[in-house]
Amino acid sequence: MATTAVTSADIASEAPRSDFGRILAQREHRFAAALLAPAFLALLATTTFPLLFLVYTSAFRMDLAMPFTNGFVGFENYQVLLSDERFWTSLLVSLVYTGSTVALQVIIGLALALLVMDMKRGQGWFRVIAILPVVLSPAVVGMIWRTFMLAPEFGIVDFLAINAGLGSKNWLGDPTLAMVSVIAIHTWQWTPFAFMVLLASLASLPEDIYEAARLDRASAWQRFRRITLPLLRPAIVMVIIMRTMVALTAFAAIFTVTAGGPGTATEILNLYAYRKSFTELSIGYGSALAVALLIVTIIISGILFAMRRAK
């Protein structure tokens, strides 16, 4: 063996040290990999595999009502999708729903956070009460709103509308009102999340820079515009990113309140994919719709993350 020629001096110098280091590093890597493996495999099995299977399915015609037509179709589902007017409508509904709910959550959440920051007493109670909608299941929230809040004559909202002289409205039957209603429901449930994040962020801003700004003769509005808002920017962008991803894939609340109706007035893309797959049993096309939603979500998140890094 070649090692027999190695002198003791060589052994004492570099060779052992670098070898030892490499062995240690290797061991550490192996140990880390072993720790990671179970979680990694579980994730692969529960998220990556279904996702890939979805993409695979979208390349087939898989119609449970007419199984004899099933077979590989390549990109045909996507070609159909691009000329499917209902797809474009549901995409638009998704974007309107997402844009308006996220904007409302941030604006109302920030306003509430600013208000609560100035409260001398009762902050703790406010937080507890505010967090309640978040812990409810969206399906339950949908049921509550459909029955207690929006039911004609008896619902609280309709009752208030009647007393305000607006008359009883068909909140979930009128296409525009139905859209307004589902946006309001989502905003009602998730604004507390934005509120909590922004309140925590606000509370961490140093007091003294506001005092400095007062002495620098900044008005309350200028202090908000020039100091609070820029310092809250990371938190606001984070809220927007998180809420956008959830709003794009919202399902349960709309499903329980309007089920996408009346007609397709509140049919967001997610709901359309569901209806295609499990009501019309056209699973291949439904998969293509779901993949389209995935792509839309990735693009929008990408843009938001780029915005976050921008400054």
């Binding site: 003294d208 005092e211 400095a212 700004a213 007062r214 002495l215 620098d216 003769r217 900044a218 008005s219």
Partner: protein, 350 residues
């Protein structure tokens, strides 16, 4: 508008619940003066500054600036610039934007802001850092940025809340000297809060010494050093501070450990007193008070001796080349005009 910068405090009281942070504070600051508020932590000096700035409202009393009552005027409208102990720089703005902020709020045209910012930055030697964010600056640079932001708008009053306390010792000395020059060259009234008597002594034209919510003495540093009003001030001013020794007064003399020391006071009678002796005013001479040298702290040009005079510890400053050995017994005395007497009951000067 840049007024004179004359300040008057009239019976200012500040309560925090039951606790009186200020118990009726009165003082006047002349235009252009460098005025220090000196005192230990919790003595009310920072509260006084915040009331002057308009950041806190007094519980009672009036604040006048240029003879106008501003007690209920908001901080925004007082035309005051301030350097905070924490610097309070806007973390999301560059140095240039930080300095420009007060000018933008004053709605100065852009064409005037840029040169003013450059000028202020040059005065405090940070004109090469204008594009940095505060997080990228060292403590000293941040401090200069805060200074530039305060001087840029030429306010009538310039408040500094322990501006040097976060700097290291060497930088503190340098900045101290620059601060004084800067204030002189700007000719602005400056109010300076510090717990460091050396800073107050070197910087201030006059100073107010705070003790537990009250001003105990107002005067030039030299006056306060030469004639401290009370035992508390005597024990606070000077480094090392004055020796305060309980003694007996009898017909113009004080008796310490059986030794008689002449004073300038001539009233007859006997009473208990506290004798104040500056470490630097003590002399070695024959026939004085006997003392054993316990410890020598050699400072290079001078040395501070810890002396044991019949059980009482007395500190003495001696010039280099004149230092006895540890364990030696020496004899010390002081000139009558250097012997300060205080009433042990009222703690005030006699």
């Amino acid at each position: 508008m840049s007024g004179q910068g004359q300040v008057s405090f009239r019976n200012i009281v500040k309560m925090h619940g039951e606790f009186a942070a200020l118990k009726g504070v009165n003082f006047d600051i002349k235009p252009g003066e460098f005025f220090a508020l000196l005192g230990p932590s919790g003595s009310g000096k920072s509260t006084t500054l915040r009331i002057l700035a308009g950041l806190d409202a007094p519980t009672a009393g009036r604040v006048l600036i240029d003879d106008k009552d501003v007690t209920s005027t908001d901080a925004r409208d007082r035309d005051i610039a301030m350097v905070f102990q924490s610097y309070a720089l806007y973390p999301h703005m560059t140095v240039a934007e930080n300095i420009a902020f007060p000018l933008e709020m004053a709605k100065l045209p852009k064409s005037e802001i840029a040169p003013a910012v450059k000028d202020a930055a040059r005065k405090v030697k940070i004109d090469h850092l204008l594009d940095r964010k505060p997080g990228q600056l060292s403590g000293g640079q941040q401090q200069r940025c805060a200074l530039a932001r305060a001087i840029v708008r030429k306010a009538r009053l310039f408040l500094l809340d322990e501006p040097l306390s976060n700097l290291d010792a060497k930088l503190r000395l340098e900045t101290r000297a620059e601060l004084k020059k800067l204030q002189r060259s700007l000719g602005v009234t400056a109010v300076y809060v510090t717990h460091d008597q050396e800073e107050a002594m070197t910087l201030a034209d006059r100073m107010a010494v705070f003790m537990s919510g009250e001003i105990q003495q107002v005067g030039t540093p030299a006056e306060v050093f030469a004639r401290p009003n009370s035992i508390d001030i005597a024990g606070f001013i000077g480094n090392p501070p004055m020796n305060l020794v309980p003694a007996r007064y009898a017909d113009g003399d004080v008796i310490i450990a059986g030794h008689r020391l002449k004073t300038t006071i001539t009233t007859a009678g006997e009473r208990d007193v506290v004798v104040g002796l500056r470490p630097g005013a003590l002399r070695m001479s024959e026939g004085g008070l006997g003392a054993r040298v316990d410890l020598i702290e050699d400072l290079g040009d001078t040395a501070v001796l810890d002396l044991d005079c019949a059980g009482t510890m007395i500190r003495m400053r001696v010039a280099d080349g004149n230092i006895p050995g540890e364990g030696d017994t020496i004899s010390i005395t002081a000139r009558p005009q250097d012997v300060h007497l205080f009433d042990p009951a009222t703690r005030m000067r006699l």
